[in-house]
Each structure stands twice: as structure tokens, then as C-alpha cells.
């Protein structure tokens, strides 16, 4: 039973850029319905690892298993088909398009009936309504219009849009690379609540964050990444937060 | 459906008469010169001339556009140097339907259809003239050697270029595929491309001793390359155009000969005919060939037997362009 609870598993992932080894034969394991946090120093290779899991980057070597079956993601589309949705650290938005268009990019809603099926007309009104609702839920209140272009948004507003997007479409796994980095106090709470509610709905969340107290509080498991690989997989409470930080920074040995 | 314009009937002064003059492009001094001459002639006749040009050689859509714009502006006659002898016809026919008289200069319209008169160079004849002369000059200079001919072409499919080259080869008495034609390059009639093409051909065949050039800029480029290779004496270079610059090149020995054409005649005769037609309704009479050949004259300072020519002094006095 333990084995098939694992939604996403990766073994021996390696990714090298030139002579920079970003991910060094790292393992990864995510269970169904859990919040797994990935913590580690800047440049440890966290983003590179999750880019491999989300299909954005093809690893040099290593295997990925989805519900126990080996898969090979050639593009983010492949991962999305498997229900894996990702908030990238640099957000991946199209600056020229408005908020609603970015939220629904690649999964636009068409009108029902002939207008949609024959004329393939977008139902912008519905998309805008839903987009507004998702953002409201996350506690973003300063947005003046859902038709603002993303290039005109504040840093935090932009991040909220990316988070909302992943939350809506990640039916299986939601990966978030530092989703609260630019967020204010209230908005951060909104996102953490959202993460919990995703978990409670039986989906799994991978959270990369430098906010150790929040991580310690919210996570079911913590993946400690250091110098390109997972050096420890812990359960909060088994170890004090300070010790965890010690392991992460290399001050303490992994065990 | 042609509606006679009332305003024309009211005044007797030629000043009310507007004529359109459309050349191939204005990227070549030949056409710019022809336009200037047309403008001068129009002034002399007291008519208003409006002018236009295609964007590049072959730009038929641009000329159709110009014809339409001129009809709108109320011209009574249009004189055109067509970029395509066939494709221009429907536009000219439509102009005639709207009561606008049409004439051609420099290049004939296919079958001289849809025009009341044409004044043009016989480009084939000019080519033949050049070919015959170069052949004779070659025989005279380099007795015993075989000719190695290089062609500085325009680019294929452009009527004038095809006619001149065919004429030259016929006049010389060789075919394009004969071994005597050792190299050919397209230059677009451009000086620097002519120079580069000639340099490359000389690398391939250092023995080239006869060069044909489609026009004088390309010829000038070719002559530069030949001079740089120290072969000016060994190569006969013939060109076609007859601009004052070309005549000067013959004079200073860069070209062996050039064939002169007469754009001023084309401009003056066509304007004159257009004004006559508008005023009196008389169409110019054309010879059985369907057009008036404004003539070609060989310009050289090296006479050969049996070929009539004019020397560069005459050439300098009768050339076109800035003297």
C-alpha cells in the first residue's frame, strides 16, 4: 500500500548546463494528498529539479514515475496532460495579454453552442468572471480591472495570477516555485490556505519556499535539497526547525 | 462608356491639357532623363505633364496603379514605358474606354495593341549591331585567337535584356550554348555587381577576351575588374545605352564601343503626338512594323571595315544624360 500512494517519483535525475551541474543525481518522492515542501539554499537546484518534473526541461539522465508507471515528459504540455500544473519562479506570463487571458492561456473557454463549436468564439465574459472570482479568493483586492495587461501589474499581483492559474488547472499535482515570494501578509495567508484546500481535496502540492516557519507549519514532508540533490526527506516535528535549517545549510550532517 | 470631359472643350489654351508620363522605374538615369525631356517638351507645348514610375523593373502593379491615379487626376493621354509588354494591356484598354489616349515609349506593347503609337529603340537591332562590330573588331585585333565571350546580363525574363543579349549573340554569330560563351552572370544592371561578377568570371576563365554588358553601369563595373586584372588591352568590351557617361568610357578606352539610343526623341515625339491627338483627334501614323524606331547608333573610336559608326566626338554631342 505504501508504494502506490506515491504519485510522482523521480530517481537519479541529473541536469547539467555547460559545466554547471544544476541537479546531481537527485531523487524525489511525492505522495497523494500531501504537501511536500522543497527547501534549500539559493542555487541548490530546486527550480531545476521541478522544471524536470513539470516537463519544462528534459533531464540528462534519470527516471520519472507517475503513479508507478515510468513516464517521459517532453514538454510542459505532457505534464499538464497528467494533471501536473506548475507555478514557475519567473511566473511565465505573456506581458502583452490581460489577466484573464493569461489565466486561461492554453485552456481558453469557448461559448456553448454554435458560437463556440462552429465560430470557436471565446467566452471572454465567463473567463473574466471566473478569473475575478479566483483572484478575490486569494485576497487580492487592489486589482482595478481584470482586463489590465499583465505587464502593468505589481509584482505581487502578477504572482497571484500565476498561483490562481495553477490552482484552477492542477487536477493531480500542483507545483509552486516560491509562490509567496512577492506576496503581502494577507495574500500569503490566502495562498497557504489555498494550498491546504488543494491538499484537502486529495490533490498533492509541491511547495518550494524559503519561508521556513510556514513550511514547517504547513508541510506533510520536507525535501531538503543541497548542492543539486536531495540530502534528506523529513517529517516536521521529527526534527526541530533549527536543526532542519542546519541540515539545509550544511551546518549539520543530514543524519 | 467614355464620358467626354466638358472642361476640355471650353478653353483653347493647351494649359488645360494634362498628360501622364509613366516610366519603368526611376532607379536608372535613362528614365529620369526621358522624364526630364518629356517635361521640357510639355512646357514647350504648353501642356501639363504629370509623371510616375514603377518601383522596380517588372513592377506592373505599380504602373497600373499609376495609370489609375492619372486617370483620376484627369489626364487626357497617358504615355507609358511598360514594365511588362503583355500585362500592361488591360490597364491601357481600360484607360481608352474612359476616353484617355494611350501611347508607348522605349518598350513596345505586345502587338502594339491598346496604344495609338510607339516610339522605341529596337533593342534586338542594337544588340546585333554591337555583336557584329565586336566580332569584326575581334577578327581585326586578335587574328588566330578563339573568342572567349563573357556576358554581363541583366536578369532573365526582362524583355529588354533578353532582346539585347540575343541580338548581340546573333550579331556575333554564336549561340548561348556554344563553347565560345565561356561565362555569364546576372548583374541587375548594377555597377558593383558587374564588377564582382567580372572578377569572379576572370578567376574562372582568365582568357576572357570579349565582354558583352547589358548596360553601361554593369559595363563600367566589368571594365574596372578588367583594368584591375591588367587586361584592358586584351579585352573587347561592348555595351548598350549611349549615355554621356558611356560615351566618355568609350573615349577613355574602358569600353570598346557602345550602342546609343535616343530617349529624348522618344519623349519629344510621343508628347507631340499626344498633344496633337488631344487637340485634333489625329492618331500618329505608324510604319508597318507598328512602331517608330528611334534608332541605334554605334559609338566607337576604333573603326572596322563595313560597319558604320560615329566617333566619340559625335557621341558626346548627341548623348543623353548630363553632358
Amino acid at each position: 500500500m505504501a508504494e502506490h500512494e506515491v504519485v510522482l517519483r523521480a530517481v537519479g535525475i541529473r541536469k547539467q548546463y555547460g559545466h554547471v551541474v544544476a541537479v546531481r543525481d537527485s531523487d524525489f518522492e511525492l505522495r497523494r494528498g500531501e504537501i511536500l515542501s522543497v527547501i534549500g539554499d539559493n542555487g541548490a537546484g530546486k527550480s531545476s529539479l521541478i522544471k524536470v518534473l513539470s516537463g519544462d526541461v528534459v533531464p540528462d539522465s534519470g527516471q520519472i514515475f507517475l503513479n508507478g508507471t515510468e513516464v517521459s515528459f517532453k514538454s510542459p504540455k505532457d505534464a499538464q496532460r497528467a494533471g501536473i500544473e506548475t507555478v514557475y519562479q519567473d511566473l511565465a506570463m505573456v506581458p502583452e495579454l490581460d489577466i484573464a487571458s493569461n489565466l486561461y492561456l492554453g485552456r481558453e473557454k469557448r461559448y456553448r453552442g454554435g458560437l463556440g463549436s462552429v465560430l470557436r468564439m471565446l467566452d471572454s465574459r465567463t473567463m473574466q468572471k471566473h478569473a475575478q472570482a479566483s483572484l478575490d479568493e486569494l485576497g487580492i483586492s487592489t486589482l482595478q480591472s481584470i482586463t489590465q495587461r499583465v505587464e502593468t501589474l505589481s509584482g505581487g499581483q502578477r504572482q497571484t495570477v500565476a498561483v490562481a492559474r495553477a490552482a484552477i488547472f492542477g487536477t493531480n499535482v500542483v507545483i509552486m516555485d516560491e509562490p509567496t515570494a512577492a506576496l503581502g501578509v494577507r495574500e500569503t495567508k490566502g495562498v497557504l490556505d489555498l494550498i491546504r484546500s488543494i491538499r484537502d481535496a486529495g490533490r498533492s502540492v509541491v511547495l518550494i519556499s524559503h519561508d521556513i516557519p510556514s513550511v514547517y507549519e504547513i508541510s506533510d514532508h520536507i525535501h531538503v535539497h543541497r548542492l543539486g540533490r536531495r540530502i534528506a526527506l523529513r517529517t516536521p516535528g521529527d526534527q526541530s526547525m533549527n536543526d532542519l535549517v542546519g541540515v539545509m545549510t550544511g551546518a549539520l550532517p543530514p543524519d | 462608356t467614355a464620358k467626354p470631359t466638358d472642361s476640355a472643350a471650353s478653353g483653347g489654351a493647351n494649359g488645360d491639357i494634362k498628360i501622364g508620363f509613366i516610366v519603368k522605374t526611376n532607379s536608372n538615369p535613362f528614365w529620369v532623363f526621358m522624364q526630364q525631356k518629356a517635361q521640357e517638351e510639355a512646357k514647350k507645348q504648353g501642356v501639363t505633364l504629370i509623371t510616375a514610375a514603377g518601383k522596380n523593373d517588372g513592377d506592373i502593379d505599380g504602373q497600373i496603379t499609376a495609370i489609375q491615379n492619372m486617370i483620376t487626376s484627369g489626364v487626357k493621354a497617358i504615355i507609358v514605358d511598360p514594365n511588362d509588354s503583355t500585362a500592361i494591356i488591360p490597364a491601357l484598354q481600360s484607360a481608352q474606354k474612359q476616353g484617355v489616349a494611350t501611347f508607348a515609349v522605349d518598350t513596345q506593347v505586345d502587338g502594339n495593341k491598346a496604344v495609338y503609337g510607339t516610339w522605341a529603340t529596337d533593342n534586338y537591332k542594337g544588340g546585333v549591331l554591337l555583336g557584329k562590330y565586336v566580332k569584326a573588331a575581334f577578327g581585326k585585333n586578335d587574328a588566330g585567337e578563339t573568342p572567349q565571350i563573357a556576358l554581363l546580363d541583366y536578369h532573365p525574363g526582362v524583355t529588354v535584356g533578353d532582346q539585347r543579349r540575343t541580338g548581340f549573340l546573333d550579331g556575333f554569330g554564336v549561340k548561348r550554348t556554344d563553347p565560345e560563351v565561356v561565362a555569364a552572370q546576372d548583374t541587375g544592371g548594377d555597377q558593383s555587381q558587374g564588377q564582382q561578377a567580372m572578377e569572379n568570371m576572370l578567376q574562372k576563365k582568365p582568357g576572357i577576351n570579349v565582354v558583352y554588358s547589358i548596360n553601361e553601369p554593369a559595363g563600367r563595373g566589368g571594365a574596372t575588374a578588367i583594368a584591375d586584372a591588367g587586361k584592358t588591352k586584351a579585352v573587347l568590351l561592348g555595351s548598350i545605352d549611349g549615355s554621356c557617361d558611356g560615351v566618355a568610357s568609350v573615349k577613355d578606352g574602358q569600353f570598346t564601343a557602345t550602342v546609343m539610343q535616343f530617349p529624348a526623341k522618344m519623349a519629344e515625339m510621343s508628347i507631340d503626338a499626344a498633344v496633337k491627338y488631344i487637340k485634333d483627334g489625329v492618331k500618329p501614323t505608324m510604319p508597318s512594323s507598328g512602331y517608330i524606331d528611334t534608332g541605334t547608333t554605334l559609338i566607337t573610336d576604333q573603326a572596322v571595315n563595313g560597319i558604320s559608326y560615329k566617333d566619340t566626338t559625335w557621341g558626346a554631342a548627341n548623348c543623353w544624360g548630363t553632358k
Binding site: 514538454s75 505573456v94 502583452e96 | 500585362a87 536578369h155 533578353d162
Partner: protein, 321 residues
């Protein structure tokens, strides 16, 4: 203020303003410019470059560029004209189909090189242009005239309101602009085109198949070039390898004058059509003024810059400092 807000929402407002300014200018300075007949002629002049400019806009929106559009049109037109020689009008339906296949296929070759091998569009289409221009001349050095029939039907027309002469081709180009505007602004695919041009990485990460979008863009552009060839038969049933030699730069100009960014992701097809009209109005107006072609050319250069400056002004772009 209201006007500026409208302009920000509709980026083709600037080019439209420039167009109107020019029309007023020429209507005042010449007696012949402002007439139903002249406007109808200008519209007819717009059909070929206007159609090509639509394909060019699509490609430029994806941060590409097409230097081969005129050459593709020419090859398509030559093939169609050759096939139509001595054939009855009815056969021209099939011939048209061939033309669309040829142009679509050629543009798709560029598309594959750009999308699949990530080669710069400038070089790919420059190479295609070089090859196809020579290829067209190898294929036919004659001027070919197509017999009347479906191939030339776009040039036929009648009168609107009794005074405004109009051809089917004008309707077709305007309809194409509207359809393409709809597709770009009201369908998912259109949004993906903007996304691919604006931020290809983001587009890819949101699951858009960037390669496929690019391929379809080049294919659709190719079909528009075939439509352009058809329109060209309406303008003149005679075609040769030497026509539309400057269509590439002409369409890029129309697109840029129409407010589309060469860096991708921003622009409209309506703007491009206005850009086409701006150039034609300039030519027509300057001809009516009776200026010499060389002086016309000088003024054209200046006015094109002025038109774009006016566009920038209406958009009040933030300036570099």
C-alpha cells in the same frame, strides 16, 4: 482623454488617424483626390498588398518576418497561369486549389525551418526568396495571360450607391481583414499567436504547442499569399516572374506603419490594412499633386515617418530617457 483611452484599447486607431489626416490633406491640396471614383480606385489598388500584408502580420506577430511572400505569390500565380493555358473556365476551380496548395506548401517549408529547426525567420525567408525568385524565372520566362473565368473574377465588379465602383476583390480583402481580426482577437488560436510572439517560453509553459502554432501561422500566411495571387489576377490577368519584386518590404512597411511591433506579440491586422492604404493614398495624392516621381519619393519617405510619429503620439508611448 476619451480619445486616448479608445486609442489604447484599439491600437489601429493611430494608423487610422494618420490615414484620415492624409486624406484631408490631399482633399484640400488637390481638386481631384476627393472623389468616390478615386477612393474606389485606391481600394482596388489595395487588394494584393493588403492581402499579403495580412499574412505578413500573422508572421510578424510571432516575432518572425517573411521576405519571401512576394516570391511565393509569383510562383503560385505562374503555376496557376500555366495550368490555365488553353483550359476552359470550369477547370480554373481545380487550378485555384492547386495554387492554394503550392503557396501554402512553400510557406510551410519556411514554417518548418523556423519552428522545427529554430532558424531565424529573416534568413530562412531570405533564402526562400532567393530560391523562389530564381525558381520562378526558371519555371517561366514568359508573361502568361489567364483566360477569363474564376481566376479573374475578383477583378469584376459593379457600382455601389450608383457612384462607388467596386470589385469583388475589394469585398474579399475587407472580408479577409475582418475574419482574421476575429480569429486573432476572439479565438483561442489567435491568443496563442500573440502569446508565442510575446513570450514563447511562457507560451510553452502554459502548454501551448509553440511549434504547431508557428507551423499553422506560416501555412495560413501561405494560403493568404495564394489569395493574393488570385487577387493579382483580378488586377491584371497577365503574370510573369518579375512582378511584386518589392512586396516583401512593401508589406513589412504596411505592417509596421499599421502599428505592429517587429518584436512580436503586439499588433492588429486592421492596422496593417490601414498601413497599406496609407501608402496608396500617399502615392495617389502625390500623383494628383503632379509632383515629379523623385520629389514624390522624397515626400513619401518623410510622410511615412510622419505617419508613424503620429501613431506613436496618439499612443503616448513612454519614451526612453
Amino acid at each position: 482623454m476619451k480619445v486616448l483611452a479608445l486609442a489604447a484599447r484599439n491600437p489601429f486607431f493611430g494608423p487610422l488617424a494618420a490615414l484620415l489626416v492624409l486624406i484631408v490633406l490631399f482633399s484640400v491640396t488637390t481638386s481631384t483626390f476627393f472623389s468616390a471614383q478615386n477612393f474606389s480606385v485606391i481600394l482596388q489598388q489595395s487588394v494584393v498588398i493588403g492581402t499579403l500584408a495580412l499574412g505578413q502580420t500573422l508572421i510578424i506577430l510571432t516575432a518572425g518576418i517573411d521576405l519571401a511572400n512576394g516570391a511565393i505569390l509569383v510562383v503560385g500565380a505562374l503555376v496557376m497561369a500555366q495550368l490555365a493555358q488553353g483550359q476552359p473556365p470550369a477547370a480554373q476551380f481545380g487550378i485555384l486549389l492547386v495554387g492554394f496548395l503550392v503557396c501554402g506548401g512553400l510557406a510551410l517549408v519556411s514554417g518548418v525551418l523556423v519552428a522545427r529547426f529554430a532558424l531565424p525567420a529573416f534568413i530562412v525567408t531570405l533564402g526562400m526568396y532567393t530560391m523562389l525568385t530564381a525558381g520562378a524565372r526558371l519555371y517561366s520566362q514568359q508573361t502568361l495571360v489567364v483566360p477569363d473565368g474564376p481566376l479573374t473574377v475578383l477583378g469584376t465588379g459593379g457600382y455601389l450607391f450608383g457612384v462607388f465602383q467596386i470589385t469583388i476583390g475589394v469585398f474579399v480583402v475587407i472580408a479577409s481583414v475582418i475574419v482574421l481580426h476575429y480569429v486573432l482577437t476572439r479565438t483561442a488560436w489567435g491568443r496563442h499567436v500573440y502569446a508565442v510572439g510575446g513570450n514563447p517560453t511562457a507560451a510553452r509553459r502554459t502548454g501551448i504547442n509553440v511549434r504547431r502554432v508557428l507551423l499553422v501561422v506560416y501555412l495560413v500566411a501561405g494560403l493568404l499569399y495564394a489569395l493574393g495571387a488570385w487577387q493579382a489576377f483580378g488586377r491584371s490577368p497577365a503574370t510573369s516572374a518579375n512582378v511584386f519584386g518589392t512586396a516583401n518590404l512593401d508589406t513589412i512597411s504596411a505592417v509596421v506603419i499599421g502599428g505592429t511591433s517587429l518584436f512580436g506579440g503586439r499588433g492588429t491586422v486592421i492596422g496593417s490594412y490601414f498601413g497599406t492604404l496609407i501608402v496608396l493614398v500617399l502615392q495617389s495624392g502625390l500623383t494628383q499633386m503632379g509632383l515629379d516621381p523623385l520629389y514624390q519619393q522624397v515626400l513619401t519617405g518623410a510622410l511615412v515617418i510622419a505617419a508613424v510619429a503620429l501613431d506613436q503620439f496618439t499612443r503616448r508611448v513612454e519614451r526612453l530617457a
